[in-house]
């Protein structure tokens, strides 16, 4: 690419961790020769959300009516839209209790108070716009950013990872938290790419990279395993919903395990 690539980093409702991860990469200094930053409020005072860009990185869930309009505008102004992180891709942890409904959650926290913005239940970007690529994670790994940007800068296209965290756990030689320790590890259904970060610390995976795509996330097989270990359907759903609350397959597959067993 002879001309500089134009990039924008936009935030919806989130913890700002995805852009922090991006901003904190030493490699970002090398990117500067190849890119113009048109919008990135976390680092640039002269940011403009209305400018056209080649690549738009968007983090955060759509959680206000203003954000619905913002993502539509970004989509119109961008050649490639990349959803960054669990909030943008899956609605984020703020979707964990979405079944309660917005009004009940609002009442618990805000009471009868009124604010001048219109709140919404946290939703993934894809509910409103077409997303071209996804960087999974809460937050994504630095190498996820490097791989995607590297591929795009040479005019290629990054590929999705289609295998679960378990694969990386086996490669690292970690003991299996699910089978050997009996803890509710979500590694078997979660997109790999983190190098089995948490299991390597003896901590069960909570699924922050979301379910493996291409409909190969076997929620039912894992739910059956959890059920054998004595977890109730509610406990299984609660754990899987921390990061998968918007997954359309989840309830159907977990329900199946409990219906068949009864």
């Amino acid at each position: 690419m002879s001309e500089k690539i134009k990039i924008g980093f936009y935030a919806l409702t989130s913890c700002y961790g995805c852009q922090l991860q991006f901003a904190m990469m030493d490699e970002i200094l090398q990117l500067l020769d190849k890119a113009d930053i048109e919008c990135w409020f976390m680092v640039e005072r002269n940011s403009d959300e209305d400018k056209e860009v080649d690549i738009a990185f968007i983090e955060g869930s759509v959680s206000t009516q203003e954000e619905v309009e913002l993502v539509r505008k970004i989509r119109e102004n961008s050649k490639i839209v990349i959803a960054v992180g669990s909030c943008a891709i899956h609605g984020g942890v703020q979707s964990w209790d979405k079944d309660k409904g917005l009004s009940e959650l609002w009442k618990t926290v805000y009471g009868d108070a009124h604010v001048k913005f219109e709140p919404k239940m946290a939703e993934p970007l894809e509910k409103y716009i077409k997303v071209d690529y996804k960087l999974y994670g809460c937050p994504p790994e630095k190498k996820d950013f490097l791989y995607a940007l590297g591929a795009l800068l040479v005019g290629s296209w990054p590929e999705d990872i289609d295998y679960p965290v378990c694969v990386e756990c086996r490669i690292r030689g970690n003991p299996c938290i699910l089978i050997e320790k009996g803890e509710p590890c979500l590694g078997p259904v979660t997109v790999a790419g983190c190098d089995a970060r948490c299991p390597a610390f003896n901590v069960a995976c909570i699924g922050c990279r979301g379910a493996v795509g291409y409909d190969v996330a076997w929620f039912d097989a894992l739910a059956l395993e959890f059920k054998k270990k004595g977890l109730t359907k509610e406990e299984i759903l609660e754990r899987m919903k921390i990061f998968n609350a918007h997954n359309p397959k989840l309830e159907e597959m977990v329900n199946k395990v409990f219906e068949e067993g009864e």
């Binding site: 961790g17 904190m24 409020f41 680092v43 009940e104 926290v109 001048k116 709140p119 948490c198 901590v203």
Partner: protein, 426 residues
């Protein structure tokens, strides 16, 4: 005629907020900090959930201080179930917390604050002329991140801090590596103090009525944990009584509430820690404190930047000490079993930007009550007052300059807007 001067989206801060100043022929009419992030209902979504899962979710309130959220929530949870970690585990939690302090302060000072003083709109544009400063920023940030990687599993949203201790501790070689890099980072931290000692001559907001709140450090160790809160007017109260002394009120232009002590705004953060606890500093940090005593102006929020610079030196030295103590006690058992009983616990710690409150009640292994107050929520009222004071001083200046000065005033507080809005309970 009154003219509104608006910054829709304050740049180079964490989260989405704006400033609105209305100026007329006779001066400043109105000043508002608008907090415009969407709600995330953290307290509501974790109520009724398993304690361990809630503890994995709380840090996601904010990325800039995820370790602070994780460790404060953990302490509140352990108090609730009646568990006290072993001293060596507590020391290593301090070390993890310090990793967050170092990274957050380095990021704030060099990448968010410094561009204003040097006349840049973003830190990346400074690379050509201020290569050394950017390199120092990255090196300091990297050692903070490494501590969080090794002890917390990663720099953002650490999972390796769990009830009873850690899932796995770093190896002896990793501790040695951290110690070596911290020693290399110490001169960079000292340079940061020199650098900001010059910049602090820049702007003033002189608020003689200001009150500072910070923890009274446990075991007289300057820093993060404490069982009492110390106020600069001489008053002290146990953390369990926070609701009596930190009173929150609703303001209509913000998703986040404002906080008051004895009916007035108060300040928390690095400057408040120095004002209340400077006598506990030691080593190089103490020397530098004595050398620059006059620059820690308790009544000027801009001195918060300088206080963060001094804390970089303190926390780097403190981290080295903790590692040396840990190596002397080697090997350390990573975790004790915790029996999850019913109970209620309050923890208030010093996050990079000031006091953070977690009050958790546990019933049948699940969270049955959660109250969280973040530093930025506490600082909002006084931030707004100081933006007003700045505007009153400069209302006749060029609007673009007034905008910059108003933004700089908010940036001096190192606000974490996501933090403040996502946990408001009205």
């Amino acid at each position: 005629m009154y003219i509104p001067i608006t910054v829709d989206h304050i740049a180079r801060v964490e989260g989405k907020g704006g400033v609105e100043i209305v100026v007329g022929d006779e001066g400043v009419k109105e000043v508002k900090l608008n907090i415009i992030e969407g709600p995330r209902f953290f307290e509501a979504i974790t109520i009724g959930k398993k304690l361990e899962e809630a503890l994995a979710v709380y840090p996601r309130i904010c990325s800039f201080c995820s370790a602070a959220h994780k460790l404060t929530a953990l302490e509140a949870a352990e108090k609730a179930v009646g568990f006290t970690p072993r001293p060596e585990i507590q020391d290593l939690r301090d070390l993890l917390y310090i990793g967050d302090m170092i990274e957050s302060h380095a990021l704030h000072l060099y990448l968010l604050v410094l561009p204003d003083y040097l006349g840049y709109s973003n830190p990346l544009a400074m690379v050509d002329k201020y290569k050394k400063e950017i390199e120092y920023a990255m090196a300091l940030k990297n050692i903070g991140s490494k501590i969080m990687d090794y002890l917390g599993s990663r720099a953002i949203h650490q999972e390796n801090a769990i009830l009873g201790g850690f899932g796995k501790l770093p190896t002896k070689a990793q501790f040695e590596e951290m110690k070596r890099e911290l020693k290399e980072a110490l001169p960079l931290a000292e340079y940061t103090v020199e650098l900001f000692s010059k910049l602090e001559q820049y702007e003033e907001v002189n608020d003689d009525e200001i009150v500072h709140m910070a923890v009274k450090p446990r075991n007289d160790v300057y820093g993060i944990y404490g069982d009492y809160i110390k106020v600069s007017d001489g008053f002290e109260f146990p953390v369990e009584e926070y609701k009596k002394h930190i009173v929150e009120k609703v303001v209509e232009h913000s998703f986040a509430k404002h906080s008051f002590y004895k009916g007035k705004p108060f300040m928390v953060g690095a400057l408040s820690r120095i004002v209340n606890n400077a006598d506990l500093l030691y080593g190089k940090a103490k020397e530098l404190y004595n050398q620059y005593k006059d620059l820690f102006r308790y009544n000027n929020c801009f001195a918060n930047n300088f206080a963060q610079a001094l804390e970089l030196v303190y926390f780097v030295e403190r981290a080295i000490d903790i590692i040396e103590e840990a190596l002397a006690k080697w090997p350390i058992k990573e975790r004790d079993e915790v029996e999850i009983r019913d109970g209620f616990g309050v923890s208030i710690t010093e996050a990079p930007r000031g006091l953070v409150v977690y009050a958790l009640e546990v019933k049948d292994g699940r969270v049955s009550y959660a109250d969280i107050i973040t530093p930025t929520a506490m600082n909002l009222a006084i931030m707004e007052r100081h933006v007003r004071m700045m505007a009153e001083k400069h209302w006749q200046d060029d609007p673009e300059r007034l905008k910059l000065l108003a933004e700089m005033t908010t940036r001096a507080y190192d606000p974490c807007i996501s933090c403040s809005v996502h946990v408001v309970r009205i």
